[in-house]
């Protein structure tokens, strides 16, 4: 994520509500962009995609948007059983086209033709012009193509092998579902009673020459008898076709491929890895053997809170619909924060102004821009946090920076580990007005632009003016449901790495379920009595990344030499 950025904390990975310091690698796993987070109203907590429990609410084909009943999903091997195919060459969707009318043979193109196409029909890629006649695949009628292909597919080596595997594992799966339904508690507590896990453990414990033996910790306590029992539970699987001789059956590999490559004229005759990637079986590596693929189905999923199992998000059943029946996104509960570095924005503005004037599209603008935008060690920079309130009531917000640097420096005596930067933020709480739909439509973009230009001009005239500007820390601007807070970062001379800090945001809002008597007191939130009864406070952690610090090292090094 390009800096400056802000991510929100989900406490699901640790037991403590305080997130790890941002310089630890584990930190990045606990923080997420706001739009990926959910909010459980029952638990009053943020939930992320790592901790929610996911269940499939429906399958559909992304191409024809047909909802596939879950019973046939398995039978169709998770792919669309209608007319949807993917180009084996470029992954575009294929369309069914009729063949050309017979060539009159006089070398001229016969035009016009009848509107009704004639058989045989082909699958045709509009993008790379692959067509299924290249692999000898034609159709008598333009509908139900998958069914027409069914017999080829069923007799293919890989599907026969897969059927055999399914047959082989069926008794084990049945036994496992039986045991888990009859003895749910026991199965949960000792995983080895489950035949599937037992089989997997046995497979892992098998001796493989040159590989250290896999010994799970529990094995030593459980004795010898169980080991043999595990092995007995799964009979050894014998494949239908020995993979070492598979090349004889036209699936490629071995000497045949070597022979083929000796006669190779063009690299493109060999199918690229990504073209063969989704095939489950060893296939010929030649491009001309690639077959069209039925399009894999997609699923619509609903997510539940891991603690209270309330639904957090649930899509509408229809495949065409992109709406949700239930949607408890964190973005509609927590204030959205946008981080900005004013000095970087100016650099960008100047840059874009320059570019529009010169209109040189060829020159790479990045090099020049970076020099101006980076945070240099030993300097002080202002930064802005724009907080937007998604609630229909005003909120009181308090920001505080987590004091992790101090504790860290105590722990590590190394001088380089001193707090590399200091953040100052306004400590007093401030309000953000309520969200109202009307503000969404307010046309004050121009005003904002003018403001920006003025500031820009001022800065261009002289940097000093701005630095002595009294208000760089505090509330800078209030507009609609957005309040802009100014902060400042002082970067140490020896600093390196990223300016990245944890920030606790706590906000106080009017509770949604007030006692029945208090429905008419919209105008009196300041009353001490009512405040106690009907306000709630919610706090969450965020990590703010202002970007990388340019170390002063190089410059100093040169100085030393001179």
């Amino acid at each position: 994520m390009p800096a400056p950025s802000i991510l929100y904390h989900c406490p699901c990975l640790s037991t403590s509500p305080v997130p790890p310091p941002p310089h630890l690698p584990s930190s990045s796993y606990s923080f997420h962009p706001l739009h990926t987070l959910f909010f459980c109203e029952e638990c009053d907590a943020v939930r992320c995609n790592r901790c929610v429990s996911v269940e499939v609410s429906g399958y559909y084909c992304p191409n024809c948007l047909f909802e596939v009943p879950s019973a046939s999903v398995r039978a169709e091997k998770n792919r669309c059983a209608r007319n949807c195919f993917m180009c084996p060459n470029c992954r575009n969707t294929l369309s069914v086209v009729p063949s050309d009318p017979p060539d009159p043979g006089d070398g001229r193109l016969m035009v016009p033709i009848s509107a009704v196409g004639e058989p045989p029909f082909l699958l045709y890629c509009n993008y790379c012009r692959w067509d299924s006649s290249e692999v000898g695949m034609t159709f008598e009628k333009p509908t139900g193509l998958a069914a027409q292909l069914q017999k080829f597919e069923d007799s293919a080596l890989d599907s026969l092998e897969f059927d055999r595997l399914k047959e082989h594992f069926e008794p084990i799966i049945r036994a496992s579902s039986l045991s888990s339904s009859t003895l749910p508690t026991q199965a949960a507590h000792s995983p080895h009673t489950n035949p599937i896990t037992a089989a997997a453990t046995a497979a892992l414990a098998r001796d493989i020459p040159g590989v250290a033996k896999y010994t799970p910790l529990t094995r030593s306590q459980r004795g010898h008898k169980d080991k043999s029992a595990n092995k007995d539970e799964m009979p050894q699987y014998k494949s239908r076709v020995d993979i070492t001789t598979a090349s004889k059956h036209g699936t490629g590999g071995g000497e045949l491929d070597v022979e083929m490559m000796k006669r190779l004229e063009d690299v493109s005759e060999i199918a690229r890895l990504e073209q063969r990637w989704s095939l489950s079986w060893t296939t010929s590596i030649e491009t001309r053997d690639l077959k069209p693929l039925r399009i894999p189905l997609h699923s619509k999923r609903s997510k539940r809170c891991p603690a209270c199992t309330h639904i957090l998000i649930k899509p509408e059943q229809k495949a065409q619909s992109v709406r949700f029946k239930i949607k408890l996104a964190a973005a509609s509960y927590l204030p959205a924060i946008v981080v900005a570095l004013p000095h970087r924005q100016q650099a960008l503005a100047v840059e874009s102004a320059k570019r529009s004037m010169v209109k040189s599209t060829t020159a790479p603008p990045d090099e020049d821009r970076e020099g101006k935008c980076e945070l240099q060690a030993g300097k002080t920079y202002p930064f802005n946090l724009a907080l937007s309130n998604p609630l229909y009531d005003p909120i009181q917000v308090r920001l505080s920076v987590q004091r992790m640097h101090v504790s860290h420096s105590e722990g590590a005596p190394d001088k380089a580990r001193r707090p590399p930067f200091a953040i100052s933020l306004p400590t007093s709480p401030f309000t953000i007005s309520a969200f109202a739909e009307a503000w969404e439509y307010e046309e004050d973009d121009e005003m904002f632009g003018l403001d920006d230009d003025e500031v820009l001009e001022a800065r261009l005239r002289g940097e000093k003016e701005i630095k002595t500007k009294p208000k760089s820390v505090g509330v800078l601007e209030k507009k609609g449901n957005t309040t802009v807070i100014g902060g400042e970062v002082v970067i140490g001379k020896e600093a390196r790495g990223n300016v990245k800090f944890n920030m606790l945001v706590s906000f106080t809002y009017r509770s949604d379920d007030p006692s029945p008597s208090e429905s008419n007191d919209m105008g009196s939130p300041s009353k001490a009595g009512s405040k106690v009864t009907e306000t709630k406070t919610f706090a969450f952690y965020t990590v703010v990344d202002l970007g990388a610090i340019i170390p002063k090292e190089e410059a100093k090094y040169i100085d030393d030499i001179l």
Binding site: P98, L109, V111, C128, D131
Partner: protein, 177 residues
């Protein structure tokens, strides 16, 4: 360099909109359609466009060479493409924002995919039925299946434009008219 002498020869059945930029010695054949805002520059040598071609908005056709740039029949130059190829056959499609350098000659029934750049250092000729596609301008050869249908569609496309464009645009006539 000598100033470019403008000389436009436009067939009476061609539809060339007023708002196109033409420079140099240009010949446009019967039934060819040039949309408004297209650009045809015959900088060094003349450009001869055959019949039934469609040149869409903001497409650029440039001849940087001394010899005549010949464009065959029923070619489609889609929006924003830039073609400097010294010779183009028939029934080719140059897709949206594709770019073809002056080192590439195009035969017939070729398709240059959307956004593809064909800028080889040395001269080369694309064979018939060459398809260039994808972000890396990969090439393959089309089997030619369905080309009659496509040609039919191209003609219908041109026919429709010949009917509709004059209703909403002023047309440009050749020097002779």
């Amino acid at each position: 360099m000598a100033p470019i002498r403008d000389k436009f020869t436009i067939h009476s059945k061609a539809v060339v909109c007023q708002d196109v930029e033409l420079k140099g010695d240009i010949t446009i054949g019967a039934g060819t359609i040039v949309h408004p805002k297209a650009t045809i520059f015959a900088i060094a040598g003349p450009i001869v466009i055959g019949s039934g071609c469609i040149i869409e908005e903001s497409a650029i056709v440039v001849n940087r060479r001394k010899e005549v740039m010949r464009i065959g029949d029923d070619n489609l130059f889609e929006i924003g493409c830039r073609v400097e190829s010294p010779s183009i056959g028939s029934f080719n499609t140059i897709s949206v924002r594709a770019r073809i350098h002056h080192t590439v000659r195009i035969s017939s029934f070729c398709v240059i995919g959307a956004g593809c750049m064909l800028i080889p250092q040395e001269d080369e000729t694309l064979d018939d039925y060459t398809v260039v596609y994808g972000p890396e301008a990969e090439r393959r050869t089309w089997s030619g299946k369905g080309k009659i249908q496509e040609a039919d569609l191209r003609r219908k496309h041109a026919e429709y434009l010949r009917e509709m464009l004059p209703k909403f645009n002023r047309l440009r006539r050749g020097d002779g008219a």
